[in-house]
């Protein structure tokens, strides 16, 4: 950038590149320095590795399901005695691993750990040890799942419905213990973020100067803290039920299986929002940065996150319309369910309004963002069919449901997660990836995903039940389409993985601000120093891009700011005044 274009009295602020000693990845060496690290960024990276492995495992299980369903009588698990049992175990483990080990910790724990303190301008999360502890609880929970897999598998579906889960011979106790432990991992992460956001904000960081990702994380954390303990007690009672038949859920002793479903969904419906809310946060940030335009309706998006978090607690019954709830309860839950669509729609409209007349750069993160908006809208709108009592009676437990929640979970959360990963990858590892490769992966994911799950809507509305190992030949055509789509989706994900891995080896060093983001993480070097900020950073509007200029020469964005004296020892009041002036 030629210095001639600088307005008078302004200077370029560029943090440059971190030294070996500052870089959080390299400031201390050895495996132990990672295993016992209290640095939120390193914990985030460890989570990222962990959940990627879980995602890969569960993804291959998904391919196993799809290829088995390639033929009406099953293609993979053909053993006449055990084939169907194997199929049951495969889809159960696919669901359980994806939900408990991947999606729930994906954005909050992996990206959240890395980003929350930096975006906030804090040195670390409030309780670094608790943070490390929750990572190890995650590992511990994963070990339980591996044990369950090795012992005798799990065939209850990820929901552990009684009475089947109290009578089956598979390792329900191991898996539920795993989920119990993972629940505590999730609770501690959420607790940590709430406290961090409440008490660790630097001077000038008011609630409404927080990036929307933080609002989303905050809402998610509220759900994690409020809902997960109920899952804890549910699973504990389920274990007790299996060990000594306490008769709360077990009809053999006068228990009520519908009660189990109430208990379970009181957690698991809010958990759906643990999965999708952080994705909303990512998209809110991405859409603004890559459209180079101030986010439209900041407060509406922020409040709608909170609204979704609170509403999520009063709609759980829509998972149980056909389970034998009383008619009155089903009607109430059906009516309440529609209320969730309001804040969700607010978000989608605001994202579209942000893109409108923005100067959109079709970078990889933006491609994923657009994919997200498209797929999530389909996922959300098909949810209305399932929330409607009358249509749900027909569609319940069919492939329509499968397609619906995959549109939200994969088309929503996973795509947003990938978008966020591509967006913050330069920040996390200091390397730029191949844009072509990134966009190619996005295209493949988009095509593969739709090819997989659009046919499933048709399958479901024609009456193909979910979780079946075999099916009528009339469904074969659509199932085969879906299988090819899943394969294409897998290839797309592998391409994304290869592109990111390749960048670590061959990538150009990333500048501090490759996309032109205005949130605080772009004010530190890429990768950030281990201490995040030398002094409390200057906080402005997170979506005000006026001070950013594109530096053609070095392919980066730089911030211009008025020259200011650096006061030797920061006095909070003065900094606040300055921050206000800037604003």
């Amino acid at each position: 950038m030629s210095s001639g274009s600088l307005p008078p009295g302004m200077k370029i602020r560029d943090p440059g590149f971190p030294t070996q000693r500052e870089n959080y990845l390299t400031n201390s060496k050895g495996v132990l320095s990672w295993m016992f690290t209290l640095d939120h960024k390193r914990i985030g990276v460890m989570y990222l590795i962990g959940i990627s492995v879980a995602f890969a495992v569960a993804g291959f299980l998904a391919l196993g399901i799809r290829w088995h369903l390639f033929l009406p009588d099953g293609m993979l698990f053909r053993n006449p005695q055990t084939g169907n049992d194997t199929y049951n175990q495969v889809f159960t483990l696919h669901g359980a691993i994806m939900v408990f080990l991947f999606i729930i910790p994906s954005v909050p724990a992996a990206l959240g750990n890395f980003l929350v303190p930096i975006m906030l301008g804090a040195k670390d999360v409030a309780f670094p040890r608790l943070n490390l502890c929750s990572f190890y609880l995650w590992v511990f929970g994963a070990v339980f799942f591996i044990c369950a897999l090795c012992a005798s598998g799990l065939d209850t579906g990820w929901t552990f419905y009684t009475p089947y889960s109290t009578t089956t011979n598979s390792s329900v106790i191991l898996a539920t213990s795993g989920a119990f432990v993972l629940g505590f991992s999730s609770i501690f992460t959420g607790l940590n973020f709430i406290v961090t956001i409440n008490t660790m904000r630097p001077p000038g960081m008011t609630w409404f100067r927080m990036p929307l990702f933080l609002w989303a994380t905050y809402s998610t954390s509220i759900i994690q803290v409020l809902a997960t303990p109920v899952l804890g007690i549910t699973l504990l009672l389920l274990i007790a039920e299996r060990v000594m038949h306490i008769g709360i859920f077990d009809p053999e002793f006068n228990g009520d299986p519908v009660t189990f479903q109430h208990f379970f969904w009181f957690y698991s419906h809010p958990a759906v929002y643990i999965m999708i809310l952080p994705a909303f946060g990512i998209i809110s940030d991405l859409v603004s940065v890559h459209s180079h335009k101030h986010i439209f309706g900041y407060r509406f998006i922020a409040y709608s996150s909170l609204a979704i978090a609170l509403l999520s607690f009063i709609v759980w019954g829509h998972h149980m319309f056909t389970s034998g709830m009383s008619p009155l309860t089903t009607i109430i839950f059906s009516a309440l369910t529609f209320s969730v669509s309001i804040p969700s729609a607010i978000k989608v409209f605001n994202w579209l309004a942000t893109m409108y007349k923005g100067s959109i750069s079709l970078t990889t993160p933006m491609c994923y963002t657009i994919t997200f908006i498209f797929l999530f809208t389909i996922g959300g709108l098909t949810g209305l069919h399932l929330g409607t009592l009358a249509t749900d009676m027909h569609l319940h437990d069919t492939y329509f449901v499968v397609a619906h929640f995959h549109y939200v979970m994969v088309g929503g959360t996973v795509v947003a997660f990938l978008g966020g990963l591509f967006h913050w990858w330069p920040k996390m590892f200091g390397k730029m990836y191949s844009e072509f490769g990134g966009r190619l992966s996005c295209l493949l994911v988009f095509l593969g995903f739709n090819l997989t799950f659009l046919p499933q809507f048709v399958l479901g509305s024609r009456g193909m039940p979910r979780r079946y190992a075999t099916y009528d030949p009339e469904f074969a055509y659509l199932h085969q389409m879906s299988t090819w789509g899943a394969t294409l989706l897998g290839i797309g994900l592998i391409v994304a993985f290869v592109v990111l891995m390749r960048s670590l080896i061959r990538g150009k060093p990333a500048p501090a601000n490759p996309w032109g983001g205005a949130t605080l993480e772009w004010h530190c070097t890429s990768p950030p120093p281990y201490y995040n900020f030398e002094r409390p950073p200057l906080v402005g509007d997170p979506y005000d891009f006026h001070d950013l200029r594109w530096d053609e020469e070095n392919e980066r964005y730089v911030t211009i700011e008025p020259e200011r004296e650096i006061v030797p020892r920061e006095i909070p009041d003065e900094v606040t005044v300055q921050a206000n002036k800037d604003h």
Binding site: P202, P251, F253, L328
Partner: protein
């Protein structure tokens, strides 16, 4: 700093509870316990549960307000703790409400078996 910029020496964030208050609360709690045990010897019909729960709630409020300093705590912490009961209420009311409308006693009364051989008749009852 939003919540904590005002104290440089940081001395003023401790609020030691006066000992007389602590003792008074303890005495009140003990008396309420005695009352609740005593009332269980008399029958008040259907409002027994209500009486018992009201006494327990008074005790819980005393513990929360004084022993847990909630009366002097930040409004946010008060909101958190009280708010958690709202969610408990949502959970319990919906679940119990539904179970009231659907569940009966699944196993009819005549499984009065000598409990020593409990497993066999239970299997038969399915």
């Amino acid at each position: 700093m939003s919540a904590h910029g005002h104290s440089d020496d940081g001395h003023d964030f401790a609020h030691p509870m006066p000992i007389p208050v602590l003792l008074a609360v303890f005495v009140a709690l003990t008396i309420l316990t005695i009352i609740t045990v005593a009332q269980s010897n008399f029958s008040f019909g259907g409002i027994d549960v209500i009486i018992v729960m009201v006494i327990a709630t008074i005790k819980a409020t005393l513990v929360a307000a004084f022993f847990m300093h909630l009366a002097y705590d930040k409004p946010f912490n008060q909101l958190l703790f009280v708010g958690s009961f709202v969610f408990v209420g949502l959970f319990v009311i919906f679940t119990i409400g539904d179970s009231q409308m659907t569940s009966g006693d699944f196993i009819p009364v005549d499984d009065a078996v000598p409990a020593v051989v409990e497993s066999a008749p239970m299997a038969g009852a399915e």
